[in-house]
């Protein structure tokens, strides 16, 4: 079964039973290069395996991009 979650402001259907870590793998995102806010709470990198995603979860996944000021 699929669940609906929001990633970076966009809703997505994903398979039930995913952890944060398996989602990052599925999205082909290197966990070493990002930070994740899960329902407004920052998740330590060591906890990615233990966060199990559920319906209506809200994720912000950020990384570093080119920038100087503003």
């Amino acid at each position: 079964m699929d669940i609906i979650i929001t990633i970076n402001g966009k809703t997505q259907n994903i398979k039930e039973g995913n952890t944060l870590m398996s989602l990052l793998k599925f999205l082909d995102i290197n966990p070493g290069r990002v930070a994740v806010e899960y329902n407004k709470e920052i998740i330590d990198k060591g906890q990615y395996d233990s966060v199990r995603l559920k319906e209506n979860d809200n994720l912000e996944i950020i990384t570093f991009v080119g920038g100087g000021n503003v």
Binding site: D28, V36, I62, G67
Partner: protein, 257 residues
Amino acid sequence: MSDILKLAGIEIKSRLWVGTGKYRDFEETKKAIEASGAHVVTVAVRRVNITDRTKENLLDYIDPKKYVILPNTAGCYTVDDAVRTARLARAAGVSDWVKLEVIGDERTLLPDNEALLEAAKILVKEGFVVLPYTNDDPIMARKLEDIGCSAIMPLAAPIGSGLGIRNPYNIRILREGVSIPVIVDAGVGTASDAAIAMELGCDAVLMNTAIACAKNPVNMAHAMRMAVEAGRLAYMSGRIPKKLYASASSPVEGMIE
């Protein structure tokens, strides 16, 4: 003569600090940063583009083992946004430094100092190395030092304007009024501007647009590197006082008659 800039226990190998925005691509970013000799490199924090399948990441080009990565809160207009961005940046795991920006207005991109001070207090308490982007205001600089910021980053002119050091006297007063490093951030247009900032006694200069948007960014990065080194050396060497009238540099004795 040893003249090494130290910040939060780290020896900073170059007094030229650079941004990573506005380059054509990551390859050009990397080449320009290498030519600049910079050790501290600032980066912005943004959402991962999950539909972009190339998955190229800036940090694949700017090695965090080689550079001091300085995440910034560019684009934040409130205390909450800036604090949240800083926390996320630290959680990414490459740096607990933050170039703290709380912008007051889209047209001028000038800092909102009241909000800046509030955000800085929160982040200092949480153990961040806070480097606030502020006006060339000596009183504000002192307040930021008092609450535990690790350096002051006054603007020389509005961000991206290339107008150079608009108020050298304020920068000097600001420099004399605090004991933490002062790093001019924003407004530099060309090499002479960078040299002036260093001659005023600033500890470093951070720039992005002046290099990235030059016709030849790699050569401009090299020029900036030399300007910062020359300006620093001139400052440390002690310039002569300015005088209204001439003073001959050849002996007045022994003239032929």
